[in-house]
Every structure is written in C-alpha cells, then in structure tokens.
C-alpha cells in the first residue's frame, strides 16, 4: 500500500542526492522560519526579516516544484503570495494573517515529514489551502474595498459572505494580469530584445554606479568555504566511547606511575615515565574536551521552538505574553538536548497557564498587562543552568499546603512543620496539581513529578522559587555530559563505591551517640534539619553487618532535587573523573546502581544511583 503511494520522483535512484539535499535544506529553512515568523510578528516593520522569510518560502516553493511535490509547492506558494503582499506593503501584518502563515508553515512541516518518512505527500492540505486562498481573496478584496469606499460606503459594511462574493470577481481579473502577460514574454524571445532596446539608454547610466559596486564586491569578499560537515551520531557515540576507554587507560597509567615512583624514585626511568604520564594525561584531557564539544549542540535549538509555542498558548488563553530568550548560544550534549525538551515544554506551559495572569487581572494589580516569560541558559562550571522565570501570580504556599492536605498527600500536622521551600517542593509529589480546572494547555495528566523525574534521570537538579504576586522562577541544573562524571570514591566494608559528586553536599563525621532513631530508622541532626541515614550495604545486600565498636561514623550527605539524606560509609578515598559504563546485558538494571567504572588500579567499582537509593530507603 505504502509503496503505491510513493512519489516516483522521491524514490528515483538518480534523484536520491537531490532529494536528500532537498530534505536537509528544507528542514533547516523550516527551523529558521519557526523563529523568524514569530519574530516577524514582533517586528512587522523589519523589512530585512520579512524579505528573508519571503526568500525561505520562495526557495522551498522553487525546489519542491522540481520534485513534483505539488502539495508542498501549493501550500508554500499560497504562503509566499501572502508574504509578497506584506513585502509590497499592500497589507500590513495582523494576527489573522500571522495565523494563516503559521498554518501554512505547520502544513509545510508535516508535508516534509511525510516526504522524508513515507516518500509521499499523503496529507490533507485542502483546508489549509482554502484558508490561505480565502485570506488572499479577502486581502485583495480589501484593496477593492478601499477603492469602492468613496462611492459605495454602505456595501463594504455588509457581512463577510458578501465580501467573498466581491472578491471572487477580483480573482477572475487577477490571473489575467499575472499569468498571461508572462508566457507572452516567455514564448516570444523577440520581446526580450524589444524591451531590452527600449531600456538601453536607461541602463547605461546605471552601469557606472554598478561598476563601483563590482569592484567593492571583489575587494571585500573572501572565499566562502564550507566550514561544517555532517557526521552520523553513531560515529560520535563511538568516538566518545573510545575516549572513555582512553580516560580509563589514562587513570590506570597515572596509578602505575605513582606506584612505580614510590619504589624507584629518582631513577631516569621513573622521571621518563612521569613525563610521559603527564603528557598523556594532558592530551587525554584535551581530547576528552574536544570530543565532548563535538557532541554539543546550542540550546537555541530547543529554545527556538518556544516563541511559537508561547504565542499559540497565550492566544488560546487570551493572555499577553512576551517571551525573552537568553543564552541560546549555551551548548550542551546532544543527548541532553533531546531529553530536556519535554520538561521545558511542560514548565513553559505551566507558566503560561497557571503563572501569568489575564491582562485585566494584571492591570488591576498594577502590573504591566503583558506578562514576561524568560527562558535562559548559562554555564556554571561543569553544569548548565536553565531558568524559566515568569512575572505571574506566583505560588501561594498556603494554597499548596491545603491542597496537599486535602488530597491526602501529607497530614495536617506534618504540613505545619514544613518550611516554605518544602511546601513549594510539594508540587513535585506525584498526583499533585493546583489547577482549578484542567485546561487544554496544561494539566494533561503529566505533572510536575514527571518533570522532576526526567530531570533527575539526567543527573540534574530542579529547584523552584516563587513569590506570590511577583512571579515564579524554576531553575534546572544539568551536567554538561552524561558519559564522564566526577565521582567521590568511598569504601563501604571492603567494597569501593562511587557517589556522583554533583549530588554530594557535604561529608560529616558523626559520633554514634548523635545517631538517633525515628520510627526505627536511623537519622542524624544536621544544623536545624533531620536527615535520614541510608546504609548502602543494607539496600544492596539486604542486611547490614553492624560494627558495635565503631564510635565515629562517616556520612556523605547527598541531595537530589529538594531532598537530601546521608549515606553511611566506612572510609573516604578521594575524587576522580569516572566513565560510566553499563553493567552489561548479563546484569541488566540493578536497582540502586547507576553503572560501573574501572578505577586506576584496574578494579571495577559500582556507581550508586543516588535517586534510587533514596526511593529504596523510603
């Protein structure tokens, strides 16, 4: 069935290269249009922007027509017609025109998807084409309306139905002008000569000015070279994998070097070994950095979708919202880029839906009727910080508290003891949703708990700050890469384990008299909070060999999202960059273990999954 529907041009082996080029190029253009179209609405007077949007439509129309992609050509052509009217200042941009352009854009996007995936255009475009055609007619009708206004003022005020009646007449006239005049010129090449001769003298004058232009162009142009190439992601993954192995080898070499140096200090060989180790260490670090960089993508790729999203959402919700994007140049690993999109969409939807108030409410509260939603990204050490901030109504801790109690998520007594931050964090509990009404925008069953889980999976931390009446700020902290992490190596009994350093808050030495028991579970007091204590041994092996003689207990305090707890350890070894390796198919997924790594001495150690340990402890 599917084969029958394929466009022969798209499957023609001779056309393969062109079709591929077409798909890549059109995708890139559509990405640009996604941003430019929304930007255009903000800056309708920016002629360069308008021209660039027009050119993008124009290019797609041109190239798709060669591939016999009639539907894509058709829709794009309609969009181009509308843009051309804007360009010629026949009409000015308004939300209706914008909606139609965006509708055309959406259709183009789904057509391209179908072309790429199924080699056909089996998508219904009739409604879109009709919408666009009606708009074009209405816009042309407007011209007529203006002309007629002087004589027939009353007629123009009549209903829309009649408007289209008038416009159909105009439509009959327009093709006469547009389409017949051109083939005339085209079929008869003498015409070309004729016109050329008529304008001969005129262009001579121009030519002098242009001579200067040519010189200038020659001078200041440097040769344009292609400075990027496309690489299969699989190759990059492979490269990263090899570098990871190299990092392990480097660690091993460093270990061997220091062991050797202890025994043979001062010998020439030990000095040479030291030099080589140092050099390899440096180069490995650099290689690791470079490889990580090749996998980095600008977060703009994700951010750029939001102006459109916010525009559509705020129109649906009848709100006025400006979106501000900062730090779109900030780069992070490709895998993270893919994973961060959904949580961000959810958070932005939340802000639009629950955060920012209606213009009337805002005005009544003395705020700018137009709300602002800021999306920003920046680097902080080996992390990227993504912030979603709105100047909406904020979150009232009291409402959160009573909601959580009424839903039975926490007891009334417990609610009283919670700090402000802890109350805000209640929204991350599964089953919590503050929306009075489930709207189309958010509240589709995906709650903040899912957002938190997703962020945690990426070894990230999510934090929420909110002031009622002023706004809400959600901060997400993510590692730059998932493959290589700084880890803290500790010993539990005789087993070394690695705790991801990004989750470590501090390390304490606790006297055994300071370990209390609450509900038969060990806890410690740290400043003014009570921390549960977790025994890795017990969680992983099901029992704990208690050493009754031990007076001092080392505790590594870790935090995941808003929660923190202590891990009991016997000794602290140090910090190291470790490469996360999966346990392999034989073991599959072991609860509480994120993976394994190989240390410098060649030993295999487990990396604990701080989040899962917490769940198991609870």
């Amino acid at each position: 069935m599917a084969e029958l529907n394929q466009n022969p041009m798209l499957t023609d082996p001779d056309m393969k290269e062109i079709v591929e080029s077409f798909i890549i190029e059109t995708k890139e253009i559509l990405d640009k249009l996604d941003v430019d179209l929304v930007e255009m609405e903000k800056r309708p007077d920016d002629i360069d922007l308008l021209n660039s949007v027009f050119r993008h439509f124009h290019t797609i129309k041109g190239t798709s027509s060669f591939l016999g992609l009639d539907k894509l050509t058709g829709v794009t052509h309609k969009g181009e017609d509308i843009l051309n009217k804007l360009r010629k200042a026949e009409v000015s941009l308004n939300p209706t025109i914008m909606d139609s352009l965006l509708a055309a854009y959406d259709k183009m996007k789904s057509l391209l998807y179908s072309i790429e995936e199924f080699q056909n255009e089996d998508i219904d475009v009739d409604d879109t084409v009709k919408e666009l055609t009606d708009l074009i007619l209405a816009l042309e009708n407007k011209d007529v309306k203006i002309e007629k206004k002087k004589t027939q003022k009353k007629k123009t005020q009549k209903k829309t139905k009649e408007k289209t009646g008038v416009s159909k007449k105009t439509n009959i006239i327009t093709p006469d002008v547009n389409e017949e005049a051109i083939p005339d010129l085209q079929s008869d090449s003498d015409n070309v000569e004729e016109i050329s001769e008529n304008i001969d003298s005129e262009s001579k004058q121009q030519s002098e000015d242009n001579a200067v232009k040519v010189e200038k162009a020659k001078q200041d142009s440097t040769k344009k070279v292609e400075n990027s190439i496309r690489v299969d992601v699989e190759r990059l993954d492979e490269l990263l994998n090899i570098v990871s192995e190299l990092v392990l080898g480097r660690n091993r070499l460093a270990q061997v070097n220091s062991e050797f140096a202890l025994e043979n200090e001062g010998t020439k060989f030990s000095r040479d070994l030291f030099d080589v180790t140092k050099q390899i260490d440096l180069m490995t670090n650099e290689l690791q950095l470079v490889v990580m960089k090749t996998r980095m993508i600008k977060i703009g790729k994700v951010f750029n979708k939001f102006p459109r999203l916010v525009r559509d959402l705020s129109r649906d919700a009848k709100k006025q919202i400006d979106i501000v994007i900062k730090g779109e140049e900030t780069e992070l690993d490709k895998t993270l880029i893919e994973e961060i999109n959904d949580p961000l969409v959810h958070l932005v939807r939340n802000s639009v839906d629950h955060g920012i108030e209606n213009p009337e409410v805002r005005k009544a509260n003395g705020k700018n009727p137009t709300g602002t939603l800021t999306l920003s990204a920046e680097h902080e050490g080996n992390n990227i910080i993504i912030t979603i901030q709105d100047d909406g109504k904020g979150i009232d801790p009291e409402i959160i508290k009573s909601k959580a109690v009424s839903k039975g998520l926490i007891s009334a007594e417990k609610a009283k003891e919670l700090t402000r931050q802890e109350i805000l964090n209640l929204i991350f509990i599964p089953g919590f949703s503050t929306a009075e009404v489930v709207t189309n925008i958010s509240g589709r069953g995906v709650g903040m708990d899912v957002v938190k889980t997703n962020i945690t999976k990426l070894r990230g931390i999510i934090n929420i700050e909110s002031t009622p009446g002023v706004g809400t700020k959600i901060v997400i902290k993510l590692p730059l890469t998932l493959a290589i992490i700084p880890g803290m190596i500790v010993k539990v009994k005789d087993q070394s384990i690695v705790i991801p350093l990004n989750t470590v808050i501090e390390v304490l030495r606790v006297h055994r008299e300071n370990i209390y028991s609450v509900n038969q579970k060990p806890v410690i007091k740290m400043r003014d909070s009570v921390l549960p204590l977790v025994s890795v041994e017990e969680i992983l092996y099901g029992f704990e060999n208690k050493d009754e003689n031990k007076i001092w207990q080392y505790v590594v305090v870790v935090g995941i999202a808003e929660k923190s707890y202590g891990i009991k350890v016997d000794s602290l070894i140090g910090q190291k960059e470790v490469v996360i390796k999966s346990l392999g198919n034989y073991f599959g997924k072991v609860p509480g273990i994120a993976g394994s790594t190989i240390l410098g001495d060649g030993s295999v150690v487990m990396i604990v999954d701080v989040n899962e340990l917490l769940h198991k402890a609870e």
Partner: protein, 129 residues
Amino acid sequence: MNLKFLIVDDSQTMRRIVANSLKNLGYEDFVEAGDGKEALVKLAADDKINFVITDWNMPVLSGLELIKAIRSDEKMGKLPVLMVTTRGVKEDIIEALKAKVNNYVVKPFTPAILREKIDQIIANTGGGN
C-alpha cells in the same frame, strides 16, 4: 562550443537541480556560488566562465544586482546570463530584462526547456563573447 557555467543560487538543492539538468544535457563544466557577491568573486577568479545561470531572490547580493554588476563591468559586460525565476513575478522579470538579462526560465523547468533557453542565448549572442 565549450561552455563553462556559473550556477548562482542560495539553495544548494536548487544548484544541484540545475547542475543535474546541465549534466543531462551533456555539459560537464560548472562552478557554483551561493549569492551574487560570491558569484562576482568566482567570475573575477575564473575567466573561463562563459555562461551564468542565476536565481533571483538571494541574500547579500540579489540576482538583479548581480546582472547589473556584470553588465556594468567592462570585461564581462557581454556575458550571457540566464535568470531562473518563478511564476507570478512579472515585475521581477521586467526588472531583469531592464537590467539586460539575456533570457529567463521559469521554475520548474525540464532539461529540454533549459537547453532551448541556452541555445537561444548562444544564437543571439553569437556564442558567449
């Protein structure tokens, strides 16, 4: 005669389509440029180019400006230029003809139409220079 083409278009796909059509017609020799400015650089660097096929709507330097620039240059003023255009832009075509483009071809074209246009231009200009 030996023709060396300069294909000017901001769309790489479009350049490939034109190049492909030329290949189908038996032409082998062509260079490409992504906009009018780059085209001028290529022209200045390679005097073997004796036929320009250019798109109209391009960033930096448009097809129209490119044609004007070529026509106003002493050395390459007579260079045959074929403009690639789309339907419904009568004003553009008139502009281009004013700027003394030799002929134009409407997208989408077949190799046969392209050959016809090239042949017409060669016949009218007496073979390039």
